[in-house]
């Protein structure tokens, strides 16, 4: 049993070392990707800067909280971690708000320790999401096809489904995605004023 635990700790240490090595060896392109990803995610989190998202992502990766699946590029793994960090931000915010409401004597409708399972929506998260969706609409306001694609993505549609829904050819769709990517990169790398 003890040797089993030692082996697991050694495996965890090796996994952490592999992640640290991969992060330190990130190419310039991957570093730019990291900033663009962190900035995109932070844009939807009130009071959070992209540097905070990036810092938290690296620290969590190195803490061994999440396993780096074999064969997955490190940048994909870190991008996936950022998504989880954003979810965690909202869970934590909601939990803290419920505790404050409870402490102020207002009847809490859901126990703080079970708040993650509460069926009702989080109004603050909803408001932030509406705001961010409006920011994205404004970003692509000049591009009618891009706006259609965003609407399709909002509904969880695939590329093929979006093309069918809006009668877009493959070329029109691909060209719009290229324009969207360039706009997105420009805003997330040069500056996207909060």
């Amino acid at each position: 049993m003890q040797s089993h635990n030692v082996n697991r700790n050694e495996e965890a240490d090796e996994a952490t070392a592999a992640i640290a090595h991969a992060i330190q060896a990130l190419s310039e392109g991957d570093l730019l990707r990291l900033k663009a990803l962190a900035r995109l995610r932070a844009r939807s989190l009130p009071g959070i800067e992209w540097a905070d998202v990036l810092n938290e992502t690296i620290m969590r990766a190195l803490s061994g909280t999440r396993r780096w699946p074999p064969g997955v590029p490190i940048i994909s793994f870190l991008a996936w971690s950022m998504r989880s960090i954003c979810d965690e931000f909202w869970r934590r915010t909601r939990r803290e708000r419920r505790v404050i409401v409870g402490a102020e004597g207002t009847r809490a409708t859901w126990p703080p320790d079970q708040v993650d399972e509460a069926p009702d929506a989080d109004p603050e998260r909803t408001a932030a999401a509406v705001q961010m969706l409006a920011v994205l609409d404004a970003l692509f306001a000049e591009d009618e096809i891009a706006l259609k694609i965003i609407t399709g993505l909002e509904d969880g549609l695939s590329a093929a489904e979006i093309r069918v829904r809006y009668g877009l050819s493959e070329t029109e769709y691909d060209s719009a995605r290229k324009r969207m990517r360039r706009t997105l990169l420009r805003h997330n790398l040069r500056g996207w004023e909060r």
Binding site: A36, R177, R190
Partner: protein, 78 residues
């Protein structure tokens, strides 16, 4: 079609746009960052990354080594 909440819609959009960033070609990234000094941008990112790594090395006890992985699985399903 099931009516989605704004946060669910945003999650779909951000996941997709994030994948776009991951898939972006290096020249595209360099060009997008060129409005400001590319060197300065890279130095800024490296500084944050190195600081996070250094913090992990100096404060290993402060990190949740054995967090509950089931929470992450819940995230993934979301």
């Amino acid at each position: 079609m099931k009516r989605l909440r704004p946060e669910q819609k945003l999650d779909h959009v951000l996941a997709n746009l994030a994948q776009d960033i991951v898939d972006a070609a290096d020249p595209e990234l360099g060009q997008a960052a060129s409005g400001r000094s590319l060197r300065a941008t890279l130095t800024e990112i490296r500084t944050i990354v190195q600081a996070a790594i250094a913090r992990c090395e100096t404060l290993p006890h402060a990190l949740p080594k054995h967090d509950d992985p089931s929470k992450d699985q819940i995230d993934d399903r979301e």
